[in-house]
Subunit: 338 residues, 2 copies
Amino acid sequence: MAARRGVTIEDVARAAGVSRQTISNALNAPHRLKPETLERVSAVIEELGYSPDQSARSLKSGTKRIIAYPTAADDPDNPNPLMGGFLEAVVASAGEAGYRILLLRPRPGQSEERAIDELIAARSVDAFLLSDILRDDARVAHLSAAGFPFATFGRTLPEQPQAWVDVDSVQAVIDLVGLLAARGHRRVAFLATTRDQPWMEDRRDGFRAGVRRHGLVGQEYSAPGDDPAEIVAATRELLRGRNRPTAIVAGGDWLALGVYSAAREEGIEIGSGLALVAFDDLPVTRFLQPALTTVRLPLRQIAQALVARLLQTVEDGVAPQAGLLLPGELVIRPSLGA
Amino acid sequence: MAARRGVTIEDVARAAGVSRQTISNALNAPHRLKPETLERVSAVIEELGYSPDQSARSLKSGTKRIIAYPTAADDPDNPNPLMGGFLEAVVASAGEAGYRILLLRPRPGQSEERAIDELIAARSVDAFLLSDILRDDARVAHLSAAGFPFATFGRTLPEQPQAWVDVDSVQAVIDLVGLLAARGHRRVAFLATTRDQPWMEDRRDGFRAGVRRHGLVGQEYSAPGDDPAEIVAATRELLRGRNRPTAIVAGGDWLALGVYSAAREEGIEIGSGLALVAFDDLPVTRFLQPALTTVRLPLRQIAQALVARLLQTVEDGVAPQAGLLLPGELVIRPSLGA
DNA sequence: ATCAGTAATATGAACGTTCAAATCCAACAA
DNA sequence: TTGTTGGATTTGAACGTTCATATTACTGAT
């Protein structure tokens, strides 16, 4: 399999009997050509199937039309089920702007910042897209310091570039609690995991604010990890405690799955005997009975906003001045009860 | 944000008091340098943080160190839950070989082949990785015709390049049926969707072969689509029919979720009253009670094999002579019954 | 017919790298 | 001394674009 070099601009120029630059203009600045020349040249381009070499173009112009997305070295047995959908949305948004997404992960033993540096140094990409942002994220600090374009799904610190897009989890959970309060619930519980994920903190904050606002009695429970057994155990404890709450706000659908399990074990009917609301709208919840009231993440809008911010930074050199908080979409289903 | 050009090989050469080529050699062919020169030059490289410009390198060498993965224009509301895990594994395998994964999707209205052509013509990538292969896949035909390196997760036609890797679903399902037969089941059912996915055909074939081999009575049911309601309805029909099977082989865990639902509605106990086995080992099944007997896809091995094949084709110019069939891993859990 | 002014196209150089060939420099044999 | 050898390093060219500048062709006014 020889390194078959393709059709070059020179080939096209010769075939069309014009100069290189005329071909280049036909593609990049058609208005400079006399209409008939443009037509003739375009025909030849089409015929030879010419398309500019991206490497050569990048070398000259400095722009790659590529956005890097460093994937977290995720727990392989428990991949984030929303990741696929998020990536889909990002690829679609970027694609419409003529950009592609480059996935990478640090080599074993290499830090994520180092991997990012490598990509910057090699001038392989135009910008970075980050998700799973920590409160004090080393990657964000690194990219800010380097002055390299980036945007994040998840809030960054106030002193850092405000290139983030996030879901207003706090408000969404306040709304969930509001729904419970409106249905007469007084004792409500929040179920979380102890892993320190900022978005879980937001959801917890929302719970606390909601409880305060509606004068409810709130309890908080945590499972030590994401493991189903741990989640079910934590829920069981919650359900067996004295002063059992009449409603549970799960920090995520994944946790809610544990509540369904534990409730069944305990003979408690979700919806009637126990109200349950959660967050994420995982596809799998569509099998649950009764169906789960939850909050859907506007992944498409998030992706679109992220890409828009990124391209604005890259192409216009203007960094976003403020973060963007998008509302989650309340999906009300029977688990909420009447 | 100026188009801050980086450190070039020329800068390093000047700083080290040697020529361009010496720097190039220090990185690409260190043995050509006198050890002391190498050390001195390496120090300067390190100090200036020099890293060769990927575009320039690609332009000269013709190799991009990028593998393209065209993402299917997936149903956004029902993303493939395994996609995230598969991508993770591919990114990891490729990363270890110094390759990155480029995600793309056709622009609205553009065919996938057209999008592939664009990438080839622009010489943006070294190879393609395809999944969700159809029996007669246009993309595969296209890439074969173009003679461009590629590999597929999913079998291709015998007359096409055998660059595929796949799971031996047929054998895995035969094994599942064997487990059922060994437990005395005689009437077994296969539950599928009617969407023509080759891997579902394989699983169906496995079911038929297993039934035949063990002299069982097999029935086949189909839900018209992936929608939970449809799946539950199909299962209900299955459970209510006369000669209700004592065991169900679900074509995938997603379908098995419907069986859990329908069985609960019908008051049938999975494990004791009805054996259930499935395929995929989706993370969510870990919440099911009783836990689901299923087949785990060796995603890591699949990714590794795919990348190995790809790189062999790209770097050594040798196309794989035969496909690779990897065994699925039987995960036996209580839903199988005693 | 001449000239200015503009529209259309062509030419040379440069982006940063690596390959091929050339040069330089010891070390050593004749 | 002269030449030979082989290792270490340098030089020129090329990869395929696009930018800046130069050239040519056309238009219309004098």
